[in-house]
Symmetry: C2
Subunit: 250 residues, 2 copies
């Protein structure tokens, strides 16, 4: 994992606080942004139609705005995905999580899977260079639809295209992140590529387990709940450690 989690604040820095359900209102997006500032999450993740709003609300804060491309099916054309990424960055997104073309992967057409990722990667690089700013590029491989070999292949294609992260899941598939997948990805990716675990992560214990298994970032809509749990548990642990020290010194 990227850094040691000693406090709830450390943990918040590893969380992409996410609200991607289609029925999310402007009010809910505003609340998401407020909470992200308050708890110090790494970013908020919102659908493209809310990038402009979130960017305005998070201006002058440390919280980044991330969005999704080709989400959640990944079955758009290359150029639609590229267009969507370009526009999102223009509107203020500085993290782009794209979904691979799962159907092409299941068709064993790796060339097309690669091209799909690279067209978006190119846009992300170009736009980043233009704005002299690092745009974080994550590739969602949607593990729930893939066998082991496909998971590894997809992750390697993402690395080859220069992805900063491989992300397990959209949260809209048949299953979310699991520890085995995180371990598998960690085993097959170089140290340059980080892992984002997402989909179904709702508790502090789950988040911690994912980080221990090799995840560097957690995508979750339960960010606040997780941090509140972390605050409680880490405080109790600190107290226990203190008590133990007193006892030993006393």
């Amino acid at each position: 994992m990227a850094l040691k989690v000693r406090t709830a604040k450390d943990l918040a820095k590893l969380i992409d606080y996410t609200l991607l359900k289609p029925e999310a209102t402007k009010k809910e997006i505003s609340k998401l942004c407020q909470e992200a500032k308050r708890y110090g999450f790494a970013s908020v993740f919102v659908n493209p139609c809310y990038v402009k709003l979130a960017s305005r609300l998070l201006k002058n804060s440390e919280v980044k705005v991330g969005t999704v491309v080709g989400f959640p099916l990944g079955a758009n054309t290359f150029s639609t995905k590229a267009f969507e990424a370009r526009e999102a960055i223009k509107l203020g997104a500085s993290e782009i999580d794209m979904v691979i073309n799962v159907g092409f992967l299941k068709s064993a057409d790796l060339k097309l899977v690669q091209q799909d990722i690279e067209e978006v990667a190119k846009v992300v690089r170009q736009m980043g260079d233009k704005a002299d700013k690092n745009i974080v590029f994550k590739v969602i491989i949607e593990t729930c639809f893939l066998n082991q070999e496909e998971k590894v292949k997809a992750a390697q294609l993402a690395e080859k295209a220069g992805a900063e992260f491989v992300k397990t899941s959209t949260g809209f598939g048949t299953a979310g992140a699991n520890l085995n997948d995180v371990k598998l990805l960690r085993k097959h990716l170089s140290d340059k590529v980080k892992i984002k675990a997402s989909g179904g992560i709702r508790t502090f214990e789950q988040a911690l387990d994912m980080l221990k298994a090799g995840a560097d970032r957690i995508g979750t809509s339960s960010g606040v709940m997780i941090i509140k749990e972390a605050q409680k548990k880490l405080k109790a642990e600190a107290k226990r450690a203190e008590a133990l020290e007193e006892l030993n010194n006393g």
Copy 2:
């Protein structure tokens, strides 16, 4: 309903035969197209990445190629949806089913909901005029997330934007089509606007009930199963009618 269903063939003409799951392979799309020709479905519905393939396979057939825009969340920007629609038509789609921006509707920002639909409607009209061909435009209101008032409002905005169909569901939400929604839409739309029922329709009886409630088109991935059932049941009915006539005449 649009026309009387006397034979299984009549029914097939009212079905959009659909394969939108993200893991669909090229092989499965080819099978879909073959079956659509064989059974005489109105169209196939595939994700944008497969429009080119389906258009090639269905060239010189009566089966149309339809695709989806902003699918299934509807939470893209206006211009991404417009871009996606334009590209799909260029690649051969002659039916476009777009998802409304559910979040803007839940935020009660009807102006934005309207603008979203109209930007795509405009592209569809322009591209149709250019090719001198009618592109069918359907608006998916994703009823499962809406209350009664929102359903009616969304349908009316779709009609105002010139939609040829209002469609109940994506099939990826929390629920699909139901009879009450079809009746509600029929009640509040003018005769110019048709209704496409979709999501969870898997049997002949369900399809028939939807048509009786006012649907004009059925979107389903179970098209072949439905038609096989229809063939069996309608044949049995015809036999019964024949036997009855013989009895009466005898």
